[in-house]
């Protein structure tokens, strides 16, 4: 229940707020919204695949990793001011999907968890959100800035989810401890719930007045 419906559906909270503020949102906020929309869509497809057709949805995770990394990296490319950093991120946006594709073609089977690339993605996103925090300083009304909340969301989810990503093959395919597995995925879901709430807060802080024009 919690894993299948509540958490996946909770994505609707930030999405609806984001859509409501869409006109006033800047491109950074918009790319977070796109991330939520794409992630919701892929989750939905995964659910349908499992429930309706009883199909393995792991290949989708490989795709999901690429989409997630590209959209969030693009978000970072937008919010950084430094040209060099922007260029580095742009390179990563091209290189990371290539690594993913090479990984599922040659190294990891597409029907296993992509433990080589997804932790790498988590590290990259964690690194950039911390790096942004470092570069941008804490300003006086830091908690009133939408971007602060987006970054908080990313920093809440990815470093901890890293552990789960890295150990997912072991947990599911090797240890086969049902209880432990359950707990781990609940933690993962809760973390993503927190990330969604942080994003929702970020969207709420977008001011209606400046219309985005």
């Amino acid at each position: 229940m919690y894993l299948t419906y509540i958490v996946p559906l909770s994505i609707l909270i930030p999405v609806s707020i984001g859509l409501y503020k869409y006109k006033s949102a800047d491109s950074a906020a918009k790319s977070i919204l796109y991330y939520l929309l794409l992630s919701g869509l892929i989750n939905l497809i995964a659910l349908v695949l499992v429930i309706k057709f009883r199909m393995q949805n792991l290949p989708l995770l490989h795709l999901y990793t690429i989409v997630e990394a590209v959209v969030i990296l693009n978000y970072f490319r937008i919010i950084f001011v430094d040209k060099k950093v922007k260029r580095t991120i742009a390179t990563l946006i091209v290189v990371f999907p290539l690594i993913c594709i090479l990984n599922f073609i040659f190294i990891q089977d597409i029907f296993t968890f992509n433990t080589h690339t997804r932790p790498l993605e988590a590290i990259l996103l964690t690194f950039f959100s911390l790096f942004y925090l470092y570069k941008s300083n804490f300003i006086e009304n830091w908690l009133q800035e939408p971007i602060s909340w987006f970054n908080v969301g990313i920093v809440i989810y990815f470093p901890l989810a890293f552990l789960i990503f890295a150990s997912s093959n072991y947990l599911i395919l090797v240890s086969k401890n049902k209880e432990l597995n359950d707990i781990v995925w609940k933690i993962n879901a809760t973390l993503s719930l927190l990330m969604y709430f942080a994003f929702a807060r970020g969207f709420m802080l977008i001011k209606k007045s400046n219309d985005g024009r």
Partner: protein, 261 residues
């Protein structure tokens, strides 16, 4: 079915840990340096404020001095001259005894007129705006030399009078020099003072007396109002100075005022 490269995962784990620890340290260091910077800025603003305050005090002091000086010169000086004229009109109408008193009274009035003029000139040097610093200093020096108390000599480069100093600067330097002369006369038991002016990129003023000097450490512990005045006036016009003195070896100060070209 084990497709994980465990070494890669361990490497990732270590790397993530490194990122987290490093960022924690970096945040901490950055935060510290921000705190230091703020402290320094605060100190700087405080210093600037103090300087401004001092400027304001000295400025208003000068304005007040000028006003008092002018009033003294115009009002009291004028009235004294009028009294003298009135006394003159009494001439030949008095007995010999009375005439004697009258002559003394007139002498007293003359002395008063001179005194008032000196006081008012001291309060606001009248030539400074018109003739500039160097001429005014020369006039001041010849006044002191005439008293016979001490001998002051001035050395200056030929083109020194071409320097056009802002009035505030000229006044500040004039006050500093008169204060220095005052100090020498009051405390140093000196017989000679040398003042020299020279310029290249900056105006350099060297002042030296042959008095008894003092231990420089005394200046650090407590500087009298005179010395404080000198310091703050020089600070006000962004001039730097260096003092050289020792007990029994006279007193010397070298003042550097940067000239804007």
């Amino acid at each position: 079915m084990m497709v994980d490269n465990v070494y890669l995962l361990i490497f990732y784990g270590v790397f993530l840990l490194f990122v987290l620890v490093a960022s924690f340290l970096l945040f901490y260091i950055k935060n510290q340096s921000v705190v230091w910077k703020q402290k320094r800025q605060l100190q700087e603003t405080q210093l600037a404020q103090q300087k401004e305050l001092l400027n304001a005090v000295i400025d208003s002091q000068e304005v007040e001095r000028k006003r008092i000086g002018q009033d003294l010169h115009d009002e009291i000086g004028g009235t004294l001259s009028a009294i003298k004229l009135m006394l003159n009109s009494l001439k030949n109408q008095l007995s010999i005894d009375q005439e004697k008193v009258m002559v003394e009274a007139k002498q007293l009035i003359d002395k008063m007129i001179v005194d008032v003029r000196h006081i008012s000139h001291d309060l606001s040097p009248p030539g400074l705006a018109v003739f500039g610093l160097f001429t005014t200093i020369e006039a001041f020096v010849s006044l002191i030399n005439n008293t016979g108390e001490i001998k002051i000599s001035i050395n200056q480069q030929e083109d020194i009078e071409e320097i056009d100093l802002p009035e505030k600067t000229a006044l500040a330097l004039f006050r500093v020099l008169t204060q220095l002369v005052d100090n020498t006369i009051k405390h140093a038991n000196a017989t000679e003072i040398t003042i020299s002016f020279s310029k290249n990129n900056e105006l350099q003023i060297n002042y030296q007396d042959n008095g008894k000097g003092f231990d420089l450490a005394v200046l650090d512990k407590k500087s009298g109002i005179g010395m404080q005045n000198i310091q703050s006036r020089l600070q006000m016009i962004n001039a730097t100075y260096e003092i050289a003195t020792e007990e029994g070896k006279g007193f010397a100060i070298s003042i550097l005022y940067p000239l804007a070209d």
